[in-house]
């Protein structure tokens, strides 16, 4: 593994056991500041378990893990202030309006009233949602909702944003617009940690790790992985690794 230049996440020998079941088996990797890191694996490979630990939601069984400069054992609240999180399953409150969701999350992350007001306007305008700010989230299309959820997850300018299958079920154009937003976020210095089942999206990452049965089987740039596994695209790489 290449030496870390400016790591924002450092994981060394991370193990997580549930009883006798080993969900994460000595994971070691780092994520560079400002990169898009793709965290791939089959269902049940242990991705969600690892993400929960990195977000400070669950303790590892053992290992040395630092996230945004803080220790996952005893600085979890500090980690939570430095990260943003969004998933496909849950991101925004359906029974609150667009505007209420923005203000709720901004408030939770401790932004001041004045700052929230001005940045809310900017955000609504950028997403073209100004006219529908009072609509309930459940009434707006999924694609818009996911773009808003992402913006809300990075509203407090976190060091890292964790995205768990953010584009599942989204139409192919919105999916691409979403990835353009991800790229724009990295230009602001935000590190992106993302999972997906769309293998074309793995190509948009700077580096990709592939988990198989609790272990990281491969970690490299998409081009490097395609070369190592003699594959035309990331789908082939994934099938070769996850099937064997």
């Amino acid at each position: 593994m290449t030496a870390a230049k400016d790591p924002i996440i450092e994981v060394k020998d991370m193990v997580k056991k549930f009883g006798s079941f080993v969900a994460n088996d000595r994971l070691s990797f780092h994520v560079e500041k400002g990169e898009i890191f793709g965290f791939l694996g089959a269902n049940g490979a242990g991705k969600t378990t690892a993400i929960r630990i990195l977000c400070g939601l669950s303790y590892p069984t053992s290992g040395e893990i630092m996230v945004a400069g803080f220790n996952v054992y005893h600085e979890r609240e500090k980690i939570k202030r430095k990260i943003g999180y969004m998933s496909q399953k849950f991101s925004l409150y359906d029974d609150l309006s667009v505007s209420e969701n923005i203000r709720l999350y901004a408030g939770i992350y401790g932004l001041g009233r004045k700052e929230i007001a001005s940045r809310e306007e900017q955000l609504l305008e950028r997403l073209g949602l100004t006219q529908i700010r009072k609509r309930l989230i459940r009434e707006i299309p999924l694609g818009w909702k996911q773009k808003l959820a992402f913006s809300v997850a990075i509203f407090h300018k976190p060091a890292i944003v964790f995205l768990d299958e953010p584009t599942g079920g989204v139409d192919p154009i919105t999916r691409r617009q979403f990835w353009e937003m991800i790229h724009d976020a990295t230009l602001e210095g935000i590190t992106v940690f993302v999972t997906t089942h769309y293998m074309d999206e793995a190509e948009y990452c700077d580096r990709v790790s592939i988990m198989v049965e609790g272990r990281i089987e491969a970690l490299d740039t998409p081009a490097g992985l395609k070369q190592s596994y003699k594959s035309k695209n990331m789908n082939e790489v994934f099938l070769k690794l996850a099937r064997s």
Partner: protein, 313 residues
């Protein structure tokens, strides 16, 4: 015809979920319904399963009307809903036996039909269904939908949220089921799965955008489609390409950009501009559109029309 959807309309309060949906599926066909979340796929599947009645239009399954003859319809179809709907507090084998019995048959009688699928989960047959992994739940649900040997199988997004390996395995199973002469209608948000169907319908906002076989579907797409690759990565080129006057659309597409030009005449001009960027690793070539390109083309056409008409959402 195995099933006929004749100008189906369905609204929920003020939302028009389906607008004049009209297509037929042939006997023994593997038919795909491709579209994003919210397109109306699940509503259409509930109508086919006789669980919803359309506001207008008619739906028949092997000639039986889903409204007036729903009892017969339910005998001949196997339905796998989008949300896992088996009994979480019954074991794998109990679920299967239950579904067999409801349909007046036994697991033994039709076991040959589900053998390939069921054997993969048989080692866990004593486990509660609620404790299975996503991939295993999906295999159990398919086994239960097949256990009464239906004539028509309707599968609502069986592969959503499922990893690429399990998705591939699931499609292998569908091909085998097709070999048994069972007509299958399956919906998916994954465009790459379209190519595995005999025919596909593209659906968006309750309307069918196109129905045909996958290769014809792709060919009817943009004629002026090009791909751009570079050893330096393509993201940096995305905005540059979009700013070219000749460029109609440009999108990320895996490790390349897919670029649609406004006219054939623009091609040589664009090539010259690209050469002036002095990136020797840059590869520009004319390509045949995929289903995903076609779908994106249709989505863009539609959004251009609706913005001309001044429609919001």
């Amino acid at each position: 015809m195995s099933l006929i959807l004749d100008h189906i309309d369905k609204s929920f309060e003020t939302v028009k979920a389906l607008k004049q949906v009209n297509f037929e599926v042939k006997e023994g066909e593997l038919f795909g319904l491709i579209g994003p979340d919210g397109a109306g796929k699940s509503t259409l599947f509930r109508i086919m399963a006789s669980l919803l009645v359309p506001d207008s239009g008619r739906c028949t399954m092997l000639g039986f009307d889903i409204d007036k003859e729903y009892r017969q319809v339910r005998q001949i179809i196997g339905y796998m809903p989008g949300r896992f709907s088996l009994y979480m507090d019954l074991s794998v084998e109990e679920n299967l036996a239950f579904y067999a019995r409801v349909f007046g048959t036994t697991v033994k009688e039709n076991y040959d039909l589900i053998r390939d699928v069921y054997e993969q989960i048989a080692p866990f047959k004593k486990r509660l269904a609620g404790r299975l992994s996503g991939g295993m739940k999906q295999k159990l649900a398919l086994s239960c939908a097949l256990i009464h040997r239906p004539r028509i199988l309707i599968l609502d997004e069986p592969t959503t949220g499922v990893d690429a390996v399990s998705r591939r395995e699931f499609w292998d199973m569908l091909k085998k089921i097709q070999g048994e002469g069972i007509t299958t209608v399956v919906s998916t948000p994954y465009m790459d799965e379209a190519e595995l169907c005999d025919r596909v319908a593209l659906i968006q906002k309750g309307e069918l955008l196109a129905v045909s076989d996958p290769s014809a579907m792709a060919e009817e797409g943009e004629k002026l489609l090009y791909s751009l690759r570079s050893g330096k990565g393509v993201y940096a080129y995305l905005e540059k390409v979009r700013q070219l006057e000749a460029c109609k659309h440009a999108w990320l597409f895996g490790d390349r950009l897919h670029v649609t030009l406004r006219s054939e005449a623009d091609a040589t001009g664009v090539k010259k501009i690209l050469d002036s960027w002095q990136d020797e690793s840059l590869v520009w070539q004319s390509i045949v559109p995929s289903i995903e390109d076609r779908f994106m083309g249709l989505l863009q056409q539609e959004s251009e029309v609706s913005s001309e008409q001044g429609e919001g959402i």
